[in-house]
């Protein structure tokens, strides 16, 4: 797990005067599923395009599978699978022929692998149909098959469940988990936070071209643990709780207080209030989701920016 397969240092990209990415530094370890989150336009696709050599960085360094991408990127790319933005195929070719094109381009892919992958993504009976007749979901599945042709060590997936129905989305999530179990490292770009929360070991959150948070999903969620407190005198209770060293923040929301503190200290919150004659009618941990965490950190960034 400690073997780093992707290391990015100080990656910066300007499109003319527009800064798309600023001083991005991150690393992805072998076998992990790394979630790369960010609102639209945050720079996720730009990052993947830079890693794969579709665009050139303004500054910074990328090491892919132990190789500096400024030298000999092409050989390394043969060990990588990728879907950038949307899977792209020749509409006049069948699904099988499109995979054949991809297999020949990669080299060394046995013909039997095409049939196996079409079966795996559920397109075996539409293999000979032209791609122009495929639904968005089918194109997405074919994209996954194409990305897996070379049995990649590192797989880049950009919104892989886009266009799929809920059952299809669940299948793809299962597939990602299976791949991770097989030892494939997955770099998953998504804005579907529940999806990321379900499959990713670690996440990085990108906003306006900057990495604003990174870590294991549980660790990030712990950073934003919140205890909900209902008490008669909200103002006094808030002032009291703010004085506690381990309380990070206290916010008033309607008829309750949201106390950012370790959930394990809920009883101490209750005791501190009771000592001052403030008896809580309700104290309970609020389940923090990655979505809530994401919205909060991106909002904080926006507030700091303004």
């Amino acid at each position: 797990m400690n073997d780093v397969v992707l290391r990015i240092e100080g990656l910066t990209k300007f499109y003319g005067p527009v800064r798309a990415l600023h001083d991005l530094t991150l690393s992805v370890r072998r076998g992990e599923v790394y979630g790369f989150l960010g609102p639209n336009g945050a720079g996720k696709t730009t990052t993947v395009s830079l890693i794969l050599g579709l665009i050139r960085p303004t500054a910074g360094r990328i090491e892919l599978l132990g190789h500096d991408t400024r030298r000999g990127r092409r050989k390394v790319l043969r060990r990588v699978g990728a879907i950038v933005e949307r899977p792209a195929f020749y509409p006049h070719l069948s699904g099988a022929d499109n995979l054949r094109v991809a297999a020949w381009e990669l080299g060394g892919v046995p013909e039997v692998r095409i049939a196996q992958l079409l079966e795996r993504v559920g397109l075996a009976d539409r293999a000979d149909d032209k791609v122009k007749g495929y639904s968005t979901g089918m194109v997405q599945r074919l994209g996954l098959a194409a990305a897996l042709l070379n049995e990649p060590e590192l797989l880049f997936l950009d919104e892989p469940t886009s266009g799929l129905d809920p059952a299809g989305q669940a299948e793809i999530r299962t597939l990602i988990r299976e791949l991770a179990e097989e030892g494939v490292t997955v770099f998953l770009c998504s804005h579907l936070l529940h999806e990321v929360e379900q499959v990713c070991h670690r996440v990085g959150i990108l906003n306006k071209g900057e990495l604003i948070a990174e870590g294991a999903v549980e660790e990030l969620l712990r950073r934003k643990e919140v205890i909900q407190v209902r008490v008669a005198d909200l103002e006094r209770a808030a002032a009291l709780l703010r004085r506690l060293a381990w309380v990070r923040e206290v916010r008033r929301e309607d008829d309750r207080l949201l106390v950012e503190a370790p959930i394990a200290r809920s009883a101490e919150v209750n005791a501190a209030l009771a000592r001052r004659g403030l008896y809580a009618s309700e104290i309970r941990p609020l389940e923090t989701t990655l979505e809530a965490f994401f919205l909060q950190v991106t909002q904080e960034e926006a507030d700091n920016g303004s």
Partner: protein, 297 residues
Amino acid sequence: MVRNLRVELLKLRKRWLTWIVLLILVSSAIILPGMLLAILKMGDRLPGAQPMPPAIAAQLEQALLLPDGVGFLLSLIGGSNGMGMLLFVILAGVSVGNEYTWKTVRASLVRGRGRWDFLLTKLVAILLLMGVGFLLTMAVGIPYLGLLTAASRGQLDLSFLTASFVGEVLLGVLRTGYALVPYILLAMLLAVVGRSPWIGVGVTLAYALLVEGMALQLLVLVGRPWSQLYRFSLGGNVTGLMAANPGGQALAGGELGGMDALLNLPSANQAALVLALYSLLFLAGMLVVFQRQEITP
């Protein structure tokens, strides 16, 4: 390279456009000579037609029938305004430009395919297809001209059919293909620069048909130095080179050459050199632009 050439040939083989191009090319070798000969034979019997001087009519007929008709076939498939130029510029521009519109260029590059390899294999595949198309057209067109010749003259004298004639025809096919390479490269270059099939095809055809086919030729009437511009254009040199084909002199520089006869065209060798320079320029431009191009989503 060979593996990727297989990829490009598969992509071409499986698209309708390729077969339409070949069909038009081959069928034009049947339809056009037959139609022109029919018009020539009907001549002044057509309502309102002016009688054609017999010498000119005979010369035209000779240019359409064997053995000189081979030159007509070659100018039909090649030449700066020929059917081949039109069709293969469309095929080249579309096959490069569609890689951008379908975003398949991105997919190919992330599979580790080299940028130069991507364009060069595409070029080779188009040239191979063009070679097949030309040989097929000649294989259908020459026997058909033989039938027209027999029908028109009441007999077919095959004494012209010597090894040197066959060699000349094959050399003519090579020359014709060579003359089209700069147009194909120009279409590919423009498709890469514009990231669109329509820019590749549209601008190349506009240049070939409007700038070279009309504007530069009209400048000849203005006098020097403007009249010399056509000599340095692609079209001027293509016509100069094609004049070396069997029967080509009659079409390009002779009495049937029309405006071309006034242009003081370059010699075949000089034209071949100029076309090579144009090809190199377009090829280098295409490779450099593509190598530096950012493939954005």
